[in-house]
């Protein structure tokens, strides 16, 4: 179609009335001319007029022919069909509302889940050429972070020797949130900061929007301390002041110059530290951390033309040749058994979640299918009820294609309304999700409704329309006019094939609902199992707060400080126990070299690296940990004999025959007496096995931060003020910090599993509700259809109870067939889900039994009303022939 034609057609569309007037005038002129010609041949005026009309072939046909060729003919027909469909729907508001609501929920859920899957799995990371970014760490192991990091020496050596990467960068993960203090502006404010190599942002391809990148001179020993700040921090805390570059901030009492502001779309936490908001980045001075052991998590950008396999091969050859510390010759080959397993950064960030997300996607797709099946059944019922109308239209000349198109338009109108409402629902759900900072899922902040989501909405709506619209439309179009028009009463005799189709659809619905229920049941039970796990400590009634201390004080002064602090805090009414540790369970962790029995020689790698904690007396009690032997005492000071507490796994491994209390262990070359054995604490994550754990007295080993834990039956809000006051009496510079319940830490650790379980459960509830509605629809319709038959039965003596039971039995039969199919499908599906489960088998009988019970109950409830209605049919109806 040329542009000129398009314009002309558009003009005709807009000028409809004018065109009609022109057309009438033209046809009138035609008839006049024709009449005049015929009169010239000798006919009378009347005869001439008639002959003219006959020659024209009918005025109305000529008009219709013109109208059909004008403008956009198909558009006119479509608009007329849509208007007709809307009229029909307005006559049945209940049906229309139910249909649009069901569709809105199903489509909305689908679009929301798609947005989540898109953000976490499908969309590439928001860096330039993200597929070239690789995560460089060994396979995850029980010793967690400390076995995935590398020393500064190893890092530099790798950079020097490799040829696969244009740049290798790293950051230090051994910090906790809110590890820095912004001082000098009233009350000290907590800031979360991470140390990164100077080429970190360059490697990622992130450029500051203000100021400059880190440069090599920023990491030189003795360089002026500088920082890059996040966009959000700049906006909120520094009021988006454009003169921020070059300003000095007081961090931990020392000035730190801001050299730049990072772009708004860069979110460190989204990729590397889910659930945490990182506000500041400082360059790592490698000389300072050379002696701190494994401190760097590495990532790199592949050189152009180098494949992952090539980089992997090169890395496998370089790693065994690296030194842990170049000044320690014996540390050559330290990483021999810790080879890197290279994977793309995206895979590292979201690969773990792939299964759960796919499960979620399938569950929401099942919901859509069930909703469409329900709607298809409802539409089929309406088709049957309106057969006369369609028969009339067919008799008047409507072609099959026309009838089909008309009925499909009704489905399209419903689908469009459902899609619009669903998009709104999805927007609300996505907005809610993106703001859930406490949900520790990566890239959650990237979830949004974008063009892809809108496109997906249209696709889902179109698919839904096809699913629930085509079958009824085919039935409507294939109606045979004569028998339909000859029917006396309401047209319900649509034949057994119709009822069979609807029953089959309902059976499919029940099967899918069964699968959803099993999935939800298994996930929920896994989650409950996880909740039931013995964490080794009691999170309830415990709260933690980050406390400041003088990092430069020596062991004795430090200990005295903490002793005083804990004494003051314990004096607060309501506090039952208080203690300090430098790392809390389920947060960040840190490992050292292995602990062994004094005097025993161990092969390298024979002993696992333990998690290491520095604690004060009272910590174990405050956390509700169970201890055999004795706790640290304030008398175990810096100058007392070195003591140590081990967890059960470690103590039992070293001394299998007794509890080990009183024995001497050696760690880091220092002999220490074992004074207590702690029941295992789940330190790395809730679901994994506890590794080895070693606890030192804070007096005898320097901590890496300090968290005060208090146990009290009062809620943290009631205690916060008094605890802060107590802290401030010992340290007036104690910055404002939140007293957070320990339970919140545990919740955050379990939040992904809970999130998925609850979502799938919500879908399952929706699914079973829809399936119940479907059964209700089919049974109710069947009762209406067989009204006469039932009336005859009752007239012949069947009791009400029998009729009721008969109807319920019909419903249960449907449900049972669906259940059998659903159970088989669920067993197969459960096996695929096995990786997501915890503590229960995929074929868990209790879950399957519950599913069967729920569905049977739903079928019974659904059939109850129609059954009662059936029992109330008066036998006289048989004689009346209603």
């Amino acid at each position: 179609m040329s542009p000129g034609e398009l314009l002309r057609r558009l003009g005709a569309l807009l000028r409809r009335r004018g065109e009609d007037a022109d057309m009438d005038a033209e046809l009138e002129a035609h008839l006049d001319l024709s009449e005049a010609d015929h009169r010239r041949q000798g006919m009378t005026a009347a005869a001439a007029r008639r002959r003219a009309l006959v020659a024209l072939g009918g005025l109305e046909q000529a008009r219709e022919g013109q109208r059909a060729a004008r403008g956009f003919p198909w558009l006119g027909a479509a608009l007329r069909d849509a208007a007709y469909a809307l009229r029909g729907l307005r006559r049945e508001p209940g049906f229309a509302l139910a249909a649009v609501l069901t569709l809105a929920l199903a489509i909305g859920a689908n679009v929301a889940v798609f947005s989540v899957v898109d953000a976490i799995l499908l969309r590439p990371l928001p860096f330039p050429q993200p597929q070239r970014l690789l995560w460089m760490a060994p396979k995850p192991s029980p010793c967690s972070l400390s076995c995935e990091t590398y020393t500064a020496d190893a890092y530099e050596e790798f950079v020097a020797q490799n040829r696969s990467f244009t740049s290798v960068a790293g950051y230090s993960p051994f910090t906790s949130a809110e590890n820095l203090r912004l001082t000098g502006r009233g009350e000290p404010q907590p800031v979360t900061g991470v140390g990164v190599t100077v080429n970190f942002f360059q490697s990622l391809g992130v450029s500051p929007v203000l100021g400059r990148q880190f440069e090599a001179r920023d990491a030189a020993t003795g360089a002026a301390p500088v920082a890059l700040i996040s966009y959000a921090y700049w906006r909120r805390q520094l009021n988006a002041n454009p003169a921020v570059v070059g300003r000095a901030l007081d961090i931990n009492g020392a000035p730190l110059t801001v050299v730049g502001v990072l772009p708004a779309n860069f979110d460190f936490g989204a990729v590397f530290w889910p659930g945490v908001n990182v506000q500041m980045f400082v360059p790592l001075v490698l000389d300072d951390i050379r002696n701190q052991g494994n401190t760097l998590l590495l990532l790199g950008r592949l050189r152009d033309g180098v494949t992952l396999a090539q980089a992997q091969a090169e890395s496998d050859s370089i790693l065994p040749r690296l030194y842990f510390r170049s000044t320690i010759p014996a540390s050559y080959g330290f990483y021999r058994r810790r080879l890197m397993r290279l994977e793309t950064l995206k895979e590292y960030v979201s690969g773990r979640l792939r299964r759960s997300l796919i499960l979620l996607w399938c569950a929401v797709g099942a919901i859509l299918l069930i909703a469409c099946v329900n709607l298809a059944n409802l539409m089929l019922a309406r088709t049957a009820a309106r057969r006369k109308e369609f028969a009339l239209r067919a008799a008047l000349g409507a072609s099959r294609a026309r009838l089909f198109r008309q009925w499909l338009t009704e489905s399209a109108v419903l689908a469009a309304a459902g899609a619009a409402a669903g998009l709104g629902l999805a927007a609300a759900m996505v907005a809610f999700l993106a703001r859930r900072g406490s949900l520790a899922l990566p890239l959650l902040g990237e979830v949004r409704l974008d063009g892809g989501a809108v496109f997906w909405t249209l696709a889902v709506a179109a698919a839904a329309m096809l699913l629930f619209g085509v079958a009824p439309a085919l039935k409507a179009a294939s109606v045979d006019p004569q028998p339909a028009l000859q029917e006396a009463g309401p047209s319900f005799s649509d034949g057994p094939s119709h009822q069979r189709l609807r029953s089959t659809l309902v059976i499919a619905e029940v099967a899918m609902a069964a699968m959803l229920l099993v999935a939800a049941g298994l996930l929920l039970r896994s989650f409950l199992r996880v909740l039931d796990l013995d964490l080794g400590f009691v999170p309830s009634h415990a709260a933690a707060i980050k406390v400041d201390y003088d990092t430069n004080a020596d062991g004795a002064h430090r200990y005295a400080f903490f002793e005083q602090m804990i004494e003051r805090v314990q004096a607060v009414p309501g506090i039952e126990a208080a203690g300090v540790a430098d790392y809390l369970p389920l947060g960040r962790n840190r490992s050292w070299g292995p602990v062994g029995v004094k005097g025993v020689q161990y092969r390298p790698g024979q002993l696992p690296s333990p998690f290491v904690y520095m604690v004060t007396p009272g910590y174990f009690r405050a956390m509700g940990m169970r201890l055999r032997g004795r706790d640290f005492a304030w008398s175990d000071g810096a100058n007392s004999p070195p003591v140590i507490v081990l967890n059960y796994t470690a103590a039992h491994a070293l001394w299998p025959n007794d509890d080990g209390i009183g024995r001497i262990a050696t760690i880091n070359g220092v002999d220490r007496r074992l004074i207590g054995v702690l029941d295992d604490v789940r330190a790395a994550n809730v679901e994994g096995q506890a590794g080895w754990q070693v606890y030192f007295s804070l007096a005898q080993e320097g901590p890496n931060g300090a968290q005060l834990v208090v146990r009290s039956h009062l809620p943290p809000e009631a205690l916060a003020l008094e605890v802060m006051a107590a802290l401030r009496t010992v340290n007036p510079n104690q910055p404002a910090a939140a007293l957070r319940p320990v339970a919140a830490i545990v919740d955050a650790a379990e939040s992904p599993r809970r999130f998925f379980a609850l979502l799938v459960a919500a879908f399952a509830v929706f699914g079973i509700a829809l399936a119940g509605l479907g059964i209700y629809g089919v049974i109710a319709y069947g009762v209406t259809r067989r009204r006469q038959e039932i009336a005859i039965r009752m007239a012949l003596g069947a009791s009400r109870a029998r009729v009721q039971l008969g109807v319920m039995a019909g419903a249960l039969r449907l449900a049972l067939v669906g259940l059998v199919l659903g159970t088989v499908a669920s067993l197969l599906m459960a096996r695929a889900l096995a990786a997501l489960l915890f503590g229960i088998a995929p074929g868990d009988p209790a879950t399957f039994a519950a599913m069967v019970a729920l569905l049977v109950a739903a079928a019974a409830v659904a059939a109850y009303l129609p059954a009662r209605r059936a029992a109330r049919i008066p036998p006289m109806a048989a004689l009346r022939g209603d």
Partner: protein, 117 residues
Amino acid sequence: MAASKLDLLQGTLDLMVLQTLAALGPLHGYGIARRIEQVSGDRILLNQGTIYAALVRLRQRGWIAAAWGTSEHNRRARFYSLTRSGRRQLARDASYWQRLAAAVGRVLALPHQEDGA
């Protein structure tokens, strides 16, 4: 062959309208219809009313233009005339039909194969 019989019919009718206007100059709808009837009988034009759908089509494609004027009996009527692009289209269509007719004629003129030997 044409996509459908309807398309073939429409195409032929359109061609005849263009040809009529080229031969007779600007003409109203009735005149065009009468001319086509005379030339081809009822084979192309089922009834005079169908001409108006064709005229709308041709006008929307920009091959003919319409203007109100007075007919020979002082009656107000809408006159159609060929546009420049219409003339080009007519030439294209005409040559196409002539080539087609010649080719079909050649095919049909081939001697029949004798059955049996």
